[in-house]
């Protein structure tokens, strides 16, 4: 009994967190309209009584008549509640690679989208200068934009903020600009009015802490499609860095974002239930603890249990055929297969894989109207090392934003090496190549599976 309490407690905490976060998130991004109707079915009862007059009265004798009118209401109210999105943009993560923001031999080296960092420097802040084309990076986390009606009535203007944004011009913090809750005004000019939208966005942003700065920029935005966007940026930041050095920095860059949803102004007047979706599946995180079926550490005596963690998995319906062919990506994928158990080894290896924006292609087969879905897929991760996976997953829409599933698959990883940094500290230096088959359960955190009826391709009103 005691042994079951901690897992139950964890499950309860996850459910409570899920419920609270779901409710709070819905309240933040939803506008509610309510109409009340009062139906009156019966509002007057009229009883007419003709008492018989005593005796013989003849034909023309007036008879008594008593009319009793009672006001007896039988009423009920019916309420119609409608929910609309009230945001122009809600984004969890956005990043960009910036060109020519510093000397080419002092680059951050985050690649075209600013997130292809050296595994020795991933998830850490100790970045060594290197020679690269994309010298700088920009990151924005937790962005929200609401419509602003001050300048026009179609909300092509927006006011918004982010939890944080970072402009890393080069591999040092001397000129880095960091803002917490910067204030942003944006104006969008739509070049394409259909999903995926294409728009030119003018931006003015003000950051107050820890850097004080003004960011004037324009961007060409394409998206969102299942929360995925790509952007081209041009702008200038004027201000003081986190080390209080004056910065005047023009920039040009290319960016991508996941879990970054855009609403056209007209979509603010469309109910959530009628909203157009392009994805079969989007989520914040997916955990897949798995049992190794083959390919584990045969020398070891330890448990053959591994884990796959996908951050921001997105599965977009490919607009061909019956739209069941899917294309997808994660922001990051981590696979922990096993730890090598060799008592004589001084530095046991870890079968570990790590991918940045790995690509997936698959087939989505909805079952029972979409309550279940079978997804065979292949994944290829090309950075920082080669890793591929073929798998099939059965999704079950168990709890709202908490889908569960079963997965069976095969992962092959080429392995890679690190000498320092967060991965070296957390995982280890000796990272092994591995080929494993697995059977696991999947747990989606803040993940939503969409039914065919919710996808815009299947809507009859298109």
């Amino acid at each position: 009994m005691r042994a079951t309490l901690p897992p139950l407690l964890v499950v309860c905490m996850v459910l409570v967190w899920q419920g609270c976060s779901t409710a709070a998130f819905r309240q933040l991004v939803t506008r509610t309209e309510k109409d009340t109707y009062t139906h009156t079915r019966h509002d007057t009862i009229r009883t007419i009584e003709f008492p018989n007059a005593p005796g013989e009265r003849g034909i023309v004798y007036p008879s008594d008549r008593t009319t009793k009118t009672e006001r007896a209401l039988e009423q009920y109210d019916s309420t119609v509640v409608r929910y609309y999105p009230n945001f122009i943009r809600f984004g969890v993560f956005e990043s960009a690679g910036l060109l020519a923001t510093g000397p080419s031999d002092r680059a951050v080296g985050g690649g075209i989208f600013g997130i292809y960092t050296d595994p020795n420097e991933s998830f850490g802040n100790n970045i060594a200068p290197k020679s690269a084309l994309f010298t700088g990076s920009m990151y924005r986390i937790g962005t929200i934009e609401f419509p602003l009606y001050w300048f026009d009535q179609e909300p092509t203007w927006s006011v918004g903020t982010s939890l944080t944004e970072v402009f890393q011009w080069e591999a040092s913090n001397e000129r880095a600009i960091v803002g917490a809750f910067p204030l942003y005004l944006r104006k969008r000019y739509f070049l394409r009015d259909e999903i995926p939208y294409v728009c030119v966005t003018g931006t003015a942003g003000f950051g107050f802490l820890p850097s004080q700065y003004l960011n004037m920029a324009a961007s060409l935005d394409v998206g969102s499609l299942g929360g995925a966007n790509v952007r081209v940026y041009a702008g200038m930041v004027i201000g003081r860095s986190i080390e209080q050095r004056s910065v005047v920095q023009p920039y040009l860059g290319f960016g991508a974002s996941l879990l970054d949803f855009h609403n056209h102004p007209r979509e603010l007047r469309r109910q959530w239930s009628e909203h157009e979706h392009s994805s079969w599946d989007v989520g914040l995180m997916r955990l897949t603890p798995f049992l190794l079926l083959s390919g584990g550490d045969t020398a070891g005596q330890g448990s053959s249990v591994g884990l796959q963690l996908q951050l921001m998995p997105t599965t977009v319906a490919f607009p061909v055929g019956d739209h069941r062919i899917t294309a997808g990506a994660d922001l990051f994928t981590f696979v922990f297969a096993y730890r090598q158990q060799q008592p004589q080894a001084r530095n046991p290896g870890v079968a570990f894989g790590y991918g940045v924006l790995p690509l997936r292609i698959g087939y989505w087969l909805p079952i029972a109207g979409g309550a279940l879905a079978l997804e065979p897929y292949a994944m290829y991760s090309y950075f920082p090392h080669s890793m591929w996976q073929v798998a099939a997953r059965l999704h079950v829409n168990a709890v709202e934003w908490l889908p569960l599933g079963i997965a069976i698959g095969y992962i092959s990883s080429a392995g890679f090496s690190v000498t320092r940094g967060t991965i070296e500290e957390v995982v280890g230096r000796n990272i092994l190549a591995f080929d494993v088959a697995y059977l696991g359960i999947t747990i989606g955190i803040a993940e939503e599976l969409f039914r065919p009826s919710q996808l815009r391709y299947y809507r009859s009103d298109r």
Partner: protein
Amino acid sequence: MTAALLVLLTALVPVFVQTVGTSDPWRFWLGEGTTEPLQVWNRGSLDAVEKRGVRDVRIVGPTRIGLISPRHTEFRLVLYATGSAATDGIRLRMRTTERDYAELSRGGIALTIDRSGVRIEEGTTVLAATDTLRFRAGDPIRIAIEHDGQQTRIAVGCSLFGPFRTQLPATEYTIVEPLGDESSSLQISDVAIEGVRD
């Protein structure tokens, strides 16, 4: 001092963004501070509807507003309507909602007062009509409405119409439409409301 100001500004940004971003300039209140406030929902352009006083609103051009009583579906409502020379009249729609009217074409009970007289209709059925009461530019018209159960009573000036018995449900809405072109204007003044049952 500067640091405190920067902290304050940073802390105020999310509050400012949410307050400004979730505000709805198409809605405002009449009679706020009273026991029976009435919400106005502007369904046209922002500059077409203007709040002129605590209980007064001005409508310019062929648009419409919804007067919403947030606490009652069965109520008595009274207002004075005064139109300009370019205004042809006024139409009130009752026992419907803005969405039902705009998206589902459910017009409810319509009271039309124009230069040819007064008509009260439910769908295609004319409930009452007269040509002795007419809309005149500059003359305030008093309109009173009572929704009680299945019955609706309407008074235009001192003339009473109804009660009309209807199967339409009572709603929180009274939709006001000026009749006329872009240059017309209609002043709705002294709007007051009370619930029938409390």
